[in-house]
């Protein structure tokens, strides 16, 4: 029993690190624009497909494919912001949200038309290796893919923390999310900072997409819908706008989901995220790491 729980925890952490990577993009964009970027889940899908084509069509190795997917998604994210969100930055919130839904739907349905809705098998770029020693001692199966997912995502998160807290552009990002107008008056180039935020968020989503391809071996044009929404729930759970919060929220959500599908019923797997959302909104709407802010005129 213990080993089974431990096993599910390991699976949950692997899934959770993907959610955390996607949630980071949501939380950064929300922190700066106060906009739920519904298209973010689909950027993650495009990332998975970019990785897939880099491996199958260009016959690249895993590292170049990884970088290729990140670059493609950074360009995609920046252009979405430039052409769909920037013209509406001063418009009522509901207009930007509607556009975000439109962009998300456009990406999904173009994906369905161009790549067909049938799932594809992601090439086995990383031969599966199971660590026998750990299995014999603790009775849990750990494979190298889980370790790759975990180490890549933690590495990217540390890099992100460094960028946000230790560099000049990171300081500008924090300033814009704190108070856009004042930051602008202090000479921060708002447009550049927002584009940069979208680029970083989309790169993390692309990394998540390629990792999911490696881990679950299966990609399709609608794969971004559910993880996208769940990652947003993870961002809310951790406190929207907070980067450590998004990471924690992603891990908690991944673990909760795997535990529910292992010990209660796998059919309720998709429902648990939203149950968590309702509970967190009732109990502590600012999230685990969030600070309560009063909206002022």
């Amino acid at each position: 029993m213990i080993s089974e729980i431990l096993q599910q925890l390991i699976n949950g952490i692997a899934l959770g690190s993907i959610y955390a990577l996607i949630a980071l993009g949501y939380t950064m964009v929300y922190g700066i624009l106060k906009l739920i970027n519904f298209a973010h889940g689909d950027v993650y899908m495009v990332g998975a497909f970019a990785g897939y084509f880099a491996v199958t069509s260009f016959h690249w190795g895993i590292m170049p494919a990884f970088l290729f997917a990140m670059v493609v998604c950074a360009i995609l994210g920046v252009s979405i912001e430039r052409f769909a969100y920037r013209p509406l930055r001063m418009a009522p919130r509901i207009a930007a949200l509607t556009t975000a839904i439109g962009v998300s739907f456009l990406l999904e349905n173009l994906g369905v038309i161009i790549w067909s809705p049938t799932p594809r098998a992601f090439p086995q770029v990383l031969p599966l290796k199971i660590y026998e020693g750990i299995y014999q001692r603790f009775g849990v199966i750990v494979n190298n893919r889980q370790l790759v997912i975990l180490s890549v995502s933690i590495g990217l998160m540390i890099l992100l923390q460094f960028i946000v807290n230790r560099t000049k552009i990171g300081m500008a990002m924090r300033a814009v999310s704190f108070d856009r107008e004042t930051a602008w008056m202090m000479g921060v180039n708002i447009d550049y900072v927002i584009s940069f935020t979208f680029a970083i968020g989309s790169m993390l989503a692309a990394a998540g997409g390629v990792l999911v391809g490696i881990y679950f071996n299966r990609i399709d044009p609608l794969m971004g819908v559910m993880p996208g929404v769940k990652a947003f729930v993870a961002a809310v759970l951790g406190g929207i706008g907070s980067i450590p919060g998004a990471m924690a929220g992603g891990f908690i959500l991944g673990i909760a989901e795997i535990l529910v599908s292992a010990f209660i019923a796998s059919t309720y797997r998709d429902a648990i995220a939203f149950a968590i959302l309702i509970i967190i909104l009732l109990v502590k709407p600012s999230g685990i790491f969030g600070t309560l802010t009063r909206e002022k005129v």
């Binding site: 509406l88 949200l97 509607t98 439109g102 739907f105 809310v236 059919t267 939203f274 709407p285 002022k296």
Partner: protein
């Protein structure tokens, strides 16, 4: 009160009912294919107008209309199928059940500022679908067949009329003004003494009630229900209707609901002409959403209405 009708509202209502009843008597002479499109248009008008009260008038963002529809559809079908409950009562029960779920979702999310409602309603729609998939008494994943066919032209357009009338009356009432003020500026509304949470929940429950009723009509027309009919796609379809018709314009959303019900039928011919199996409908919908918001945020039809103030 309907401004232009004033005290003639009730005589007008009776004339409308007689008129709808008259057309209903003739409905057997209408080509069944067209009759079906006309009935779906009516159901879509109900859905679009009720969503417009939430999204357009109150400025909140609900993405769960398909979920509310599912609740109304399944509950009313359950009542008429198992307990032979009279059709109008089943419709009202379906609407009330949606409204109660609306309260349950609305209270935790609407007391907060921001867009939590969008994600919460999206999630609620998914939860409802998951639950319906696992509920054996209404067929679960096999679907729910054999629902009696009660929906006809009369019932659909009677309810269309009630929705339009109640929405217009709401718009002109003090409560409606409070709801509008929340859309325009929530902080100012609160400062003027509007209980914003209460009116947001009121608008949300009003919309979800009518969505439930529309679901009941839908169930008793198709005579078959399946959880996969109520996906997020369906909610977005209704969203496209109100965006195209103009957020906050009741008449506009009714017109665009009819237009978007006919559009897929027209697209059928295009698919035949170009000899393709690709369904361009969803791509067109998403482009419509983006382009309308970028180029004409007041909607294609609702242009005469005052523009929503930029903030």
């Amino acid at each position: 009160m309907l401004d232009r009708l004033g005290k003639f509202q009730y005589p007008f209502l009776i004339i409308c009912i007689v008129f709808i009843y008259g057309i209903n008597l003739l409905s057997s002479y209408i080509n069944p294919y067209y009759l079906q499109i006309i009935i779906f248009s009516g159901i879509n008008i109900i859905l679009a107008v009720s969503l417009n009260v939430i999204n357009g008038l109150c400025g909140q963002f609900s993405l769960g209309h398909a979920g509310f529809m599912a609740v109304g559809a399944y509950l009313s079908a359950f009542l008429t199928y198992y307990y032979k409950v009279p059709f109008p009562i089943a419709l009202i029960a379906g609407g009330l059940a949606s409204g109660i779920i609306g309260i349950g979702v609305g209270i935790p999310t609407l007391r907060l500022r921001g867009d939590y409602l969008a994600i919460a309603t999206l999630g609620m729609g998914e939860i409802i679908r998951v639950v319906l998939f696992n509920l054996d008494i209404v067929g679960g994943a096999r679907g729910f067949p054999g629902i009696p066919k009660y929906t006809d032209f009369f019932w659909v357009y009677l309810i269309v009329m009630l929705v339009l009338l109640s929405s217009y009356n709401l718009l002109k009432s003090p409560q409606g003004r409070a709801i509008l003020s929340i859309r325009e500026d929530e902080i100012a509304a609160e400062a003027m003494g509007v209980d914003t949470t209460r009116f947001k929940i009121f608008a949300f429950v009003f919309g979800s009630f009518w969505a439930g009723v529309a679901g009941g009509l839908w169930a008793h027309y198709l005579q078959f229900l399946h959880p996969s009919s109520f996906t997020f796609m369906k909610s977005v379809e209704i969203l496209v209707m109100i965006v195209l018709g103009g957020l906050g314009s009741i008449g506009g959303s009714a017109v665009s609901a009819v237009f978007l019900t006919f559009l897929p039928e027209a697209l059928r011919y295009i698919k035949v002409i170009f000899n393709t199996t690709v369904d361009p409908r969803m791509v067109i919908y998403s482009l419509l959403l983006i382009l309308t918001m970028l180029l004409r945020p007041q909607g294609l039809i609702g242009g005469y209405r005052r523009k929503v103030r930029d903030q």
